[in-house]
Every structure is written in C-alpha cells, then in structure tokens.
Point group: C2
Amino acid sequence: MFDKYKIILASRSPRRRELLSGLDIDFSVEIDKDEKEAYSANMPHDEVPEFLARHKSESFYRQLSINEALITADTLVFCPMCNGTGSIADCEILGKPSDRREAVDMLCRLSGITHYVTTGVAIRTINDIRSFSVTSEVTFKSLTKDEISYYIDNYMPFDKAGAYGIQEWIGYIGITSIKGSYYNIMGLPVQRLYGELCDMLR
Amino acid sequence: MFDKYKIILASRSPRRRELLSGLDIDFSVEIDKDEKEAYSANMPHDEVPEFLARHKSESFYRQLSINEALITADTLVFCPMCNGTGSIADCEILGKPSDRREAVDMLCRLSGITHYVTTGVAIRTINDIRSFSVTSEVTFKSLTKDEISYYIDNYMPFDKAGAYGIQEWIGYIGITSIKGSYYNIMGLPVQRLYGELCDMLR
C-alpha cells in the first residue's frame, strides 16, 4: 500500500505495534534509547501529546534515508479536576504511575467520571513532517476498592498512562462508554493515521 | 467470583468467547445445534436482539441443573434508511451477508454514515431469567470500492452482522468514531453483563 516507503515505528509499546499491524502494512520497529518526554509546564495541556510525538520524531537517534517514514506517538490521560470546568485545558495530566499507591490514586480519581485520552502522532520523512492529535472520551462506572486492587495486582498497569489499559479487565468491567476512537484510547488513532499515511506517502 | 455457579456460554462466536474470557471468569461453551433465529416481522426492530437472546436461552437443547447459569446473545446491525428519521425503529436490520454481493452492498450502505449495533443478552438459571440489550453507535468514513473489495476478499466477513468486524482491518481504517461500548459492537456488552452477573449470581 505504501511500498515506496520503509515505515519505521519508534515505540516501546507492544500495543502500538499490534495496532499498526492491524492496518496490514509492513513496518519495522526501532527503539530510541535516549527518548525524552519533557515539556514546558506552561504549554496548554491539550498540545502536549502532539508536542511530545514531534519531539520524539525530531530527536530520533539517527538520520532518515530517502525512502524511510518514521512514526512516533505519545498518549496522555486528562483527568478533570473537582472544581474545574471539565475542558481538557482544565484537566490534570495523568502519566504512567510510578508505584502501586499512585496507580490506586489514579484509578480512584477516574472512577465514576468521564475523562479524556489524547494521542499525538508525528510522521516524518527526510524532507517532510506532519503531526496531529486525536482525543477520545472515556467514562468509568464507580469502581470498588476491590476492583481497583484486583486489577492493579493482576495486571500491573505501571507502563500505562492513567494506570489502565482499556483492552484489559478493568476496561471490560469498568468502562460504561466511550466517545471517539477505541484504538486511540489503546494508544494509536489508526483510522486517522491511515488517512494521513495515504495523503503523505502515496 | 461467581463460584457458586457453572457458567455456560451458548454461542458459536469465537469473539464472544474471547470477550467473556476478558472478565476473568471460568465458563464452558456449549453449542446448541438446533438454534433458530426467527422473529416476527411485526416486532419493533430494537426489541429483536433481546428477543432472540431470550429465545436461544429458552429453547436451549437441554435442562439446566441447579448450579448452572446460561448466557446467550444476539447482535444485529441497524442501518438508517435514506428517507428515514434515523431512529432505530426506522432502520433496516442487517444480518449476516449470504454472499460477496450482499457483503459489498451492506458495506456500501454503511459507508459514510452512522449506524447502530445492538446486542441482546439473556442470563438464565434453573429458576430465573433476565435479559437486556445495549446499543452503540458506529460512524464509518466514506469507504472506497477498493477498500470494500480488499476487506471482503481478505477477511471474508460472512459470519458477521452488517458484513464487518470492528476489530478487523475495516474497523481500523474505516471507523472514525463510536459512541457507547466497543465490546458491545464486537458482540458482547461485557461491562453491563458483568454488572448483571454480580447482581444475579453473587
């Protein structure tokens, strides 16, 4: 489909590999060991995922050759604050929990409310870059303490923004509805990505 | 979790087995060879999936023992008509396509619009039955003829209502957004089912 290009996915996430595979395209995975995720505290929250995806792309450890296309992505969870307006700008960013206590805290906060998940994506060739981000809404039922404990102890969601994977048990029993793209919540907005790849590489 | 009961799933669908497994519960599968899917043409469309799920349950080929709980389900796709109001009552039911021509026709009709997917579920024990249905919305981008042909020839969606699986290539490249439960669109509303099982069997 995109046979003029060698597509490279720079991501540690096995979920992103699986999702990109679902587009039936050939690609290879190259992990950038020096990848950094820093952003300015002043940046509007909803711009952070796309910024991080571009940053990962532009700071990739090696130059691209003429027929290569690099895909990078970053997913963040945005949790409305008790006294906020509910818009993303007013949300707190939840990254990956550093320990069990932080994972419990994140899931307690997401319990019973609607939050946002945004994935930023960058596609770069030797002389072009484009980036975009996609936001989806996720609503959890009120989770019990037992449900939160069972999930954390059995699924160890320490590599996941917001301390959950929608494709895991907690997503099955706890998510009452979503609005937008399921795959975006998993970590890659494949429908939009496919359209952008068609535009850019064909 | 529901260890007072032996849970039985009566479904041919490998997707439903996978979805029920995601709830981390033990169950066995028993397929009823004589299963029928008939319903009256006068029945309001949105009542059909739940009716079929109950019918599958009540006509199960054998009696249940005292500690058994039987789960049955039926998923249908509802496609708005050109001149309709867009409500489910005004939609046409799309079942499984009988051949390639019918699959092409179904996907052409779903292309570029929002449709509904409803799964009806029944849970029955020896002296109790409860049933419910869950509806989700799915929006496809405009699909090209090439995309429809590629999908049908490579994925053979003849066992799927509406001629598509959201978890397959066409769902990845073609579905711009959903509203409701992703797993319901795949064939089983696991979040609601989990809640009903907790209520009924614990």
